[in-house]
Subunit: 141 residues, 2 copies
DNA sequence: TAGCAAATCAGAACAAATCCGATTTAAAGG
DNA sequence: CCTTTAAATCGGATTTGTTCTGATTTGCTA
C-alpha cells in the first residue's frame, strides 16, 4: 500500500486530513517492518515534538480498522506495519523477533486446510513464522 | 497431556511438588479451552482462597517453559491450556474468541510451506484459526 | 469566515504482569 | 524424626502498555 492510497481510504471514510496522520503513515511506509507504538512515537517526535500518545494510539487503531495497518503482537506489545496483503493477493510473513523486519511467504494455509470443525464459525486466522533476520544474527555475534 | 505426566515433568526438572501447582494443572486439564490467568485464579480460590497472583503468574510461566502449558494471546491478555501437541503429533487449533474453547486442526502449514526466505533463521511459528463456537453463537441470540 | 464536528492535548486512570523483601514450606541428609 | 536450606509463596508496591476524560484546537463545509 502507498501513502497516497492510505490517505485516500481515510478521506473516503470521512476522516479528516492531518499532518500527524500522514506522518504516521509515512513512518510505517518507510520500512518493511513491524513497529511498536513507541517506535512510531519516537520517530514522529522529530517533526511533532508535542504529540501525545493518545493521538498515536487512537490513530493506530483507526488505521487498523480501515485496513491501512496490519497488527500483530510481540513481547506483549502491539506491533504495526503498513498493510500489504491488500495490495495483491492475501499472504503471510516471516517476522524477525528482534527488529520486527518482515519478509513475505507464498500462499496461505487456509487454502490447503482440509476442514475446520463445523461447530465453529470461522472469523479469522493468523499464520506467522518467527525467526531472526540476517542483520540481527550478525549483530549478536 | 495428563495431570500425572505434568507433575512428572516438574519433578524431573527439579521443581517441588505443591498442592497449588497440582491444582493449577488440574484446572487446566479439566477443559479443552484457553484460560486466562484471571480464570485460573478464580477457580483456584475455591481451594486456596489466599493464593497470590504472583504465584499464579510465576507458575504459569514455569509451566509454559516446561511445555506443560501452551500459550496464546486474546484481547491483550495471555491465555493458557494444557499442552496437547506434545501428546501425539504437532498440530494447531481453532479457538473460540468468546470462551477460549479449542478444537484441533489436522496438519501443520510448515509442512506444506515451499520455502522460507533464507535470510531468516526460523525459531518458531504460529497458526491459529479464530471463530465462534456453537455454544457462544447460541448464547448471543 | 463562522460554526461544528473531529482531532488533539495532558495527564489521570486502568489492567495485565512483574518485582520485592519477608515468611513459609517441601524434601534431602543426618 | 529433626534440622537445614533452597524453593515457593505472600502481599503489596511497581512497571508497562494502553485507554479514558474533559478541555482545547483544528479541518472542513456552508
Amino acid at each position: 500500500m502507498k501513502v497516497e492510497e492510505a490517505l485516500q481510504i481515510l478521506k473516503a471514510n470521512g476522516y479528516k486530513y492531518t499532518g500527524k496522520r500522514e506522518e504516521m503513515i509515512r513512518i510505517c511506509a518507510a520500512e518493511k517492518r513491524y513497529l511498536s507504538a513507541k517506535d512510531i512515537m519516537e520517530r514522529i517526535k522529530e517533526q511533532y515534538p508535542t504529540l501525545s500518545f493518545d493521538t498515536v494510539y487512537r490513530n493506530i487503531s483507526t488505521f487498523v480498522e480501515l485496513g491501512i495497518l496490519e497488527e500483530t503482537e510481540l513481547d506483549g506489545e502491539g506491533r504495526y506495519r503498513l498493510a500489504c496483503s491488500a495490495d495483491g493477493h492475501h499472504h503471510h510473513h516471516v517476522i524477525c523477533t528482534e527488529c520486527g523486519k518482515t519478509s513475505s511467504l507464498p500462499g496461505c494455509p487456509m487454502n490447503v486446510l482440509a476442514a475446520v470443525p463445523d461447530d465453529f464459525q470461522v472469523t479469522g486466522h493468523k499464520f506467522e513464522v518467527y525467526g531472526t533476520c540476517k542483520e540481527c544474527i550478525a549483530q549478536s555475534n
